[in-house]
C-alpha cells in the first residue's frame, strides 16, 4: 500500500552576498533597491511559496587585508526589508537571519514580535551564531564570545526571547472604552530571566503577536546545530546533497526530536538548492556549464583556494595546476568574514584530496573550484526538475527546498512559471494558500502562551 503523497514546501532565498550570483548578466538588477525585493517577493507569492528568506552579514568580507571585491558586496537591513515587504505581499512568510551574538534578546524579540504584528502573522527567525572578533569590531561588545560558547549563548538567547514572547498571554488588551480598562493585567509582559549569558527583568512591551512567536529556523549541519534544531527549531536549513545523504540527514535529525518530547512533523527539513532550467535537459546542462564558468572567474578560483590554503596564492595561474605547497595551519588570516573558511576543518586533508582529484581529471585550479564548489542542485527541463524535487520529498530526503536563483531579482520567475504548475499537476503542491500565517503554510501549530518547547523545558540539556 502506498503512503499518501507528501506536500512539498518551497521557499525562496533572495541572493545576497555570495559567489553564485552572476552580477554581470544583462538580466541582473540591483541587490539593494527595494524594487528588486518587491519583485522577488511577488514572484514567490505568485508561486504560492511558503516564505522568502534573507541572510545576514555584519561585516564586509576581507581577503589579504582588503575588502573583497569580486562578489556582490553590500546588503540592506533584514528587519527593515521584511517589514517593507509585508506591505507588498499578503501571504508570503518573511524569514530573516538574525545573529544571536551581536544583539540583545529584548530588542530582537521586540523586532520579531513587531514584524509578526505588522505582517499579520508571517514572521520567522533564522537563529544564527557568530563569534569572531573580526565581526565584533563593529559592535559595542567587540569580540567577546569564545567560539565554544556560541551555541550556549544562542540557546539561551532563543529561550530568553521565547520567555519574552510568552510574557503576554494574548488576552490582556480589553480596551473597554466604556469602563476605561485598557489592560486586564497590570503585570502583562512581566519577565525575569537569570542565566549565564543574560540576567534581565522587567516588562516586555510588545503584546502577543498573531503567531505567538515567530517561526524558528536553524541553519547548520554540525552535531550541535542538529541538536539545537531538534530541541528548539520549527525548521532546519541543510545543504543540498545526494538523495542518500539527504535521507541520512533527514532520518538522523527527525530521530532526535523524541528526546525533546516532539513529533517528527514538528521540524521541517528544507535544504537550500540552486537550479538551472532549460527547454530540454541538454539545453539546461549547457546553460548550467556557462553559469558555472561565470560564477568562478580565474581570480575567484584563486581566492577560493586561499580559504583552504590560508596563504596568498595570487602568484598562481588559475589555468594551471594546484599549488604543491601545503596550507598554513595557523590562525586564518587571509580570508576573513567568510563562512566557507569554517567548512574546511582539516585543510591538509582537503588540499591533498583536491590535488589528487585535479591530477586524476587533469583539472586546472579553476576547473577544480568549479567542480567542487558550484554545482547547481537541479539542472534540467521543468519536467525533470519537478520530478526530481518530488522524488526527494517523497523519499524523505527533505520536506521541500529553499531555492536560490543566481540572478537578482528575476531568477525565480521561470521556476514560478514552469516548474510550479507541474508540481501542482502532480498533486504535491498547493494551488492556493489555505491559511494566512506562516505557521499555517508550514503546517505548524500556533504555540500556547507559556508552553515552551525549547531547551528551557529540558534544563538537563542546557549547557550552562
Amino acid at each position: 500500500m502506498s503512503k499518501p503523497l507528501k506536500q512539498i514546501h518551497l521557499a525562496a532565498h533572495f541572493p545576497g552576498v555570495n559567489n553564485t550570483t552572476v552580477w554581470s548578466d544583462p538580466e541582473a538588477g540591483s541587490h539593494i533597491e527595494f524594487s528588486s525585493f518587491a519583485h522577488f517577493a511577488r514572484t514567490a507569492e505568485r508561486a504560492r511559496f511558503d516564505f522568502l528568506f534573507l541572510a545576514e552579514g555584519l561585516r564586509l568580507r576581507e581577503q589579504g587585508g582588503k575588502i573583497y571585491d569580486l562578489d556582490v558586496v553590500g546588503r540592506p537591513d533584514t528587519f527593515t526589508v521584511l517589514a517593507a515587504l509585508a506591505a507588498v505581499t499578503e501571504h508570503l512568510g518573511l524569514t530573516g537571519t538574525i545573529n544571536s551574538t551581536f544583539n540583545e534578546p529584548y530588542e530582537v524579540a521586540r523586532q520579531f514580535a513587531s514584524l509578526d504584528h505588522l505582517s499579520a502573522g508571517r514572521a520567522a527567525w533564522n537563529v544564527v551564531t557568530s563569534w569572531d572578533a573580526f565581526t565584533g569590531e563593529n559592535f559595542r561588545r567587540g569580540g567577546f564570545l569564545p567560539q565554544e560558547e556560541r551555541y550556549s549563548r544562542a540557546k539561551e538567547f532563543l529561550s530568553t526571547a521565547n520567555e519574552l514572547f510568552d510574557s503576554w498571554r494574548g488576552d490582556e488588551i480589553v480596551a473597554d472604552q466604556e469602563t476605561g480598562t485598557f489592560l486586564n493585567d497590570a503585570k502583562a509582559g512581566a519577565f525575569v530571566h537569570e542565566g549565564r549569558h543574560f540576567d534581565i527583568e522587567g516588562q516586555f512591551n510588545v503584546p502577543r503577536s498573531p503567531q505567538g512567536r515567530p517561526v524558528i529556523f536553524q541553519a547548520g549541519d554540525s552535531e550541535e546545530g542538529r541538536e539545537f534544531a531538534a530541541s528548539s527549531a520549527d525548521a532546519i536549513f541543510s545543504r543540498y546533497s545526494t538523495l542518500k545523504e539527504g535521507q541520512a540527514f533527514y532520518t538522523d535529525v527527525k530521530a532526535r526530536l523524541a528526546r525533546y518530547g516532539r513529533r517528527p512533523d514538528q521540524l521541517l527539513i528544507l535544504p537550500a538548492a540552486t537550479f538551472v532550467l532549460g527547454d530540454t535537459d541538454a539545453e539546461a546542462e549547457e546553460h548550467a556549464r556557462e553559469v558555472r564558468r561565470r560564477q568562478v572567474s580565474g581570480a575567484t578560483a584563486i581566492k577560493h583556494l586561499e580559504f583552504v590554503w590560508n596563504r596568498d596564492l595570487s602568484a598562481y595561474d588559475p589555468d594551471g595546476p594546484l599549488p604543491d605547497i601545503d596550507p598554513d595551519l595557523g590562525e586564518h588570516t587571509v580570508a576573513r568574514g567568510r563562512a566557507q573558511v569554517r567548512m574546511y576543518r582539516d585543510p591538509l586533508a582537503t588540499a591533498r584530496e583536491w590535488r589528487e582529484r585535479a591530477a586524476a581529471n587533469n583539472w586546472s585550479i579553476r576547473d577544480l573550484v568549479i567542480e567542487t564548489g558550484s554545482r547547481q542542485a537541479f539542472v534540467g527541463s521543468p519536467a525533470t526538475v519537478a520530478r526530481t524535487i518530488d522524488e526527494f520529498v517523497q523519499a524523505d530526503a527533505s520536506d521541500g527546498f529553499i531555492l536560490v536563483p543566481h540572478i537578482t531579482p528575476g531568477g525565480l520567475d521561470s521556476f514560478a512559471d514552469t516548474v510550479v504548475p507541474l508540481l501542482q499537476e502532480r498533486g504535491v503542491y498547493r494551488t492556493e494558500y489555505e491559511g494566512t500565517t506562516l505557521r499555517d503554510h508550514l503546517g505548524l501549530a500556533h504555540p500556547d502562551a507559556g508552553a515552551h518547547t525549547d531547551t528551557e523545558a529540558h534544563p538537563g540539556r542546557v549547557a550552562s
Binding site: G74, A84, A86, H117, L118, N138, F139, Q177, I200
Partner: protein
Amino acid sequence: MSSSPSPLHLAVALDGAGWHPAAWREPVARPHDLLTAAYWTGLVTEAERGLLDFVTIEDGLGLQSSSFTGPDGRTDQVRGRLDAVLIASRVAPVTRHIGVVPTVVTTHTEPFHLSKAIATLDYVSSGRAGLRVQVSARQNEAAHFGRRTFPPLRIEDYDTPAAQELVTELFDEAADYVEVVRRLWDSWEDDAEIRDEATGRFIDRDRVHYIDFEGRNFRVKGPSITPRPPQGQPIVSALAHATVPYRLLARAADVGYVTPHDAGQARSVVEEIRAEQRAAGRGDETVHVFGDLVVFLDDDPGAARARRERLDVLAGRPYTSDARIFTGTPAELADLLQELGEAGLSGFRLRPAVAGHDLPAITRGLVPELQRRNAFRRAYEADTLRGLLGLARPANRYATTA
C-alpha cells in the same frame, strides 16, 4: 539663509491613539487596532493627504508610563507598542512623498544596526527616511538589557550635579552615536558599486571606507554593510528642553524639536541653539528648529475645550505636557504658528491629542487655512525628505574620487 521652498514646515508626532492619555476612549479611536499595519497606514496616508513634511513615530524600550522614572502599573491607558523603525518601514511602500522618522534609543542599541536600518528605510521609501534620537536613563529599561545600571533619576532632581552629569554623559554618548551612524552612511561613496566586467570587480574597494570610530563608550570599525542611502544622509532629529540637549541639536541634528510656550521663549531657544551651532562650527548649516505643540482642534473653539475637559475627566486629572497645549480652531492655530514662526521657528511638530480626530483636523482644517495664507505648500515640491526641508544632498566626507 533658508532656501526652504515652503514658508512653514509641518510634521506630526504619532503615538498610539494620541497624546492625551484618555485618547483611546474617544469613539473615533480604534484601540483594538493600535498594533496593526492598517492603523499606521491610515494615519500616515492621512498625514500625506495634508502634504505634511514628515511623521515621527514615538517609541521606547519599556512599557509606556505616566511616570518619568519607570513603570506606573496603570491599566487605564494604552500600553504596548511596536518597534517604530519597523512601523516606518511597513508604511513606506504605501506612501510616496511624506517623510518617515522613527524614534530610536541610543542608550542601549547598536549604532551599526541602526545605521543600516535607517539607510534601508531610506531605500524602501526612496529617500524619505530620518530618525529621532532619544536617550534613556530609566532603570527599568536598563534592566531589560542587563548591561548597564543607572542611579534613580527623579524629575525634581534633574538640576542636581549628579543628575546633570548623567544626562551630559548620555547626550555625549548620543552625539557619538549619531557621529557613528553618519560616518557609516558615508562609508560607501555613491559610486562604489562599479560592476566592472573587465576586471571582475563588483565594487571599487577604494571607494568603501573604514570609519574607525573610537569614543568613550564604544568603538566601531565599519564600513557599513549597506551602501550609502539615497539621501546620502537621512534626516537626524531630536527633542530638546535644555542646554545639554540643545548642544546635541547644534552638533549633530538637522531638525530639533523644542517646546517654547510663547514667542519670547521661542526666540531665546532659537538664539541659544544658533550660538551652540556656531560654537560647534556648524554656523553655516541649516538646522531647523521646530516647535512642538499638543493640539485639540475643532472648528468650534468651544468644542475643542469641551473635548479636552471630557478627556481630562476620563483620565482623572488635567492633562499636562512638556509642550504647550493648544485648544481651539484651525484659524487660531494658524495665527499662533505664524507668530511663533516669526520668532525664529521654521516649522512645527504637532502632537495630535486624539490621533483619529486631531490628525484629520490638521490635514483638512489647519493645512487649508495655512494655504489660504500662502504659508504652506499646495503640492509636494520634492521627492525626498531633504528636498522638502530645503536641505541639499550632502557631499560624502570620505569622497576622494569626486
